[in-house]
Amino acid sequence: MTAATLTSAQLAPGQAAWRRFRRHRLALAGAVIIVVLVLGSAFGPYLLPFDDTYIDIMKRFAPPLSGAHILGTDELGRDVLARLMMGGRVSLTIGIVAMVIAMAVGIVVGAFAGFYGGVVGAVLMRLVDAVLCFPTIFLLLALAALTEPGLVTTTVLIAATAWMWVARVVEAQVRSLREREFAVAALAFGSSNLRIMFRELVPNAIAPIVVAATLNVAKAILLESYLSYLGYGVQPPAASLGNMLNNAQIYLTSAPWLAIAPGLAITLAVTSFNFLGDGLRDALDPRMNIP
């Protein structure tokens, strides 16, 4: 045994987790980039002299670094950087809100299935299995075809196709935790089932839940970009990182920067959340080893 493991064994669990997390440099970089992206999209638009929807037909297709437009302008002469920041705002918001909804649904379904087991558990988990049979993009597009596109619809639909993995994680955790002494003690104490589920069991499964939540944001941002790129997500004139790419294919030859900037932004955001989730998994529970 090396000196490092000896000292980390003497640390409080929180400190040890922080140590493992810090060692994960990519996760740390991911966290920093996420903070920068959030701050940039929250406050960036106020620092720019251009409005993201201001159309300037005289300055169409200005390439990056030409004059005042740092990332150039699009087919209507709108500033690409301003649109990127507003689009980032929309995409990050959708990603995080969709994650919250998916987590809420997944945790409730998983907790009930894991706690009650038996018929209730079997029915709920078979429902999870069945929804997972539908390839996400197909299900998402079919649902989008039936509803009016918009910010709220996009968010809800993404959540509707993402809660199943959370339910699986929570169900497995709750099922194993409910036999433990503290859960049995709570039952002997006369706590209600709901109280045991959500005040005792779920909080004790917080590590995998936090990891799932982080990875879920990455997935939600990616799904938003797919949906909006295909024209069924966020609708113009509002910008999202996905719908900025919707028109980019037409102008690929003449104005490639229209495709490059939003695509890099999506990749950067999704990669950051994925690395953060990976690092958190290593830090919070080293035994969890899902690739």
């Binding site: 996400t136 075809a145 039936l146």
Partner: protein, 316 residues
């Protein structure tokens, strides 16, 4: 073994029933339900609509309608396309070949490349190659497939002019070389995510195996390293990959849809998207149910195959 297969088959059939119930629910959630196409027409009076409702059997109780719909689904009667009145099953199957061609090519690339990267990464754990592969795989999983497609078109079609920017063949050509030429870019794009997934799973499977006791025993016996790797490690590490093949199938189908859209590839995914644009609900539902059923059968086959090659599964 027979008991395991029967058990697993029963599970799959039960899942199929739930899957079809979800599909049926989605169909009836449509604004106006299955009637919407007729309701949109200004020439239809309420009287006409009532008659159509009766003709299509939409006035019956929902469970009866579901059983009827499910029965027809199983028998291959998937309804008719709103667009041209053609049977949905024949519309879908005429687009299936192009999709399968794309998926099969991408899978072959991904399995070969992914397994090679994964094995090498596991054997040289924490080396520069392993680090680059791990980081690269994570980035590959984070890149939007359609954007990677756009970049590929920009670099290889617009700038270099090496590859066509879309379609399955040149009009009037269609020779093997021409088909292959068109296949390269979309297959590469689709293979990116797949390669990353196979690489990650292969790496962790290989790592698990090479730390087992029997590997140490083989080494202690003085067995040559290449023999340990090929005979003992690789054979055991490849087994769980059968499950991966089943697991990543939904992602493969979804990725194919996106790649087909970017490269105007005349496959099932593109048909799905076109049908959504036309509000052609029978085709949309047909493809949705078809893809879910394919996923279901894929995971069933993977499980059975895994039980065949690994007796621990069917006994335990």
């Amino acid at each position: 073994m027979a008991r395991y297969v029967v058990n697993r088959l029963a599970q799959a059939i039960m899942l199929l029933v739930i899957v079809s119930a979800i599909g049926f629910a989605i169909l009836h959630l449509a604004p106006g339900g299955p009637l919407s196409q007729f309701a949109a027409s200004a020439q239809m009076t309420q009287e006409d609509l009532d008659r159509v409702t009766k003709q299509l059997g939409l006035d019956r109780p929902l469970p009866i309608q579901y059983l009827d719909w499910f029965g027809r689904m199983v028998r291959g009667d998937w309804g008719k396309s709103y667009r041209d009145g053609e049977a949905v099953l024949s519309v879908v199957s005429s687009h299936l070949g192009a999709t399968l061609e794309l998926m099969a090519t991408a899978t072959i690339i991904a399995v070969l490349l992914g397994c090679w990267i994964g094995i090498l990464g596991a054997l040289r754990r924490y080396s520069l190659f392993d680090t680059l592969a791990t980081v690269g795989a994570m980035i590959a999983l984070s890149i939007p497939t359609f954007w990677f497609g756009l970049v590929t078109i920009y670099v290889f079609s617009v700038k270099l002019g090496w590859l066509p920017a879309g379609n399955r063949q040149t009009v009037g050509d269609g020779s093997f070389l021409d088909l292959l030429h068109h296949l390269i870019a979309p297959a590469m794009v689709l293979a990116l995510v797949e390669t990353a997934m196979w690489g990650r799973f292969m790496r962790s499977s290989m790592l698990e195996v090479i730390n087992q006791d029997y590997i140490r025993t083989a080494r202690a016996k003085g067995m040559p390293e290449w023999r340990i790797l090929t005979v003992h490690a690789l054979r055991n590490a490849l087994l769980p990959m059968i499950t991966v093949a089943g697991l990543q199938f939904p992602t493969l189908l979804g990725g194919a849809l996106v790649a087909e859209t970017v490269f105007t590839w005349p496959g099932m995914g593109r048909l799905f998207l076109d049908s959504i644009g036309y509000r052609d609900y029978p085709v949309v539902m047909g493809i949705l149910m078809f893809s879910a059923t394919m996923v279901l059968i894929g995971s069933l086959l993977a499980d059975i195959l895994y039980a065949v090659v690994d007796p621990r599964i069917r006994v335990g």
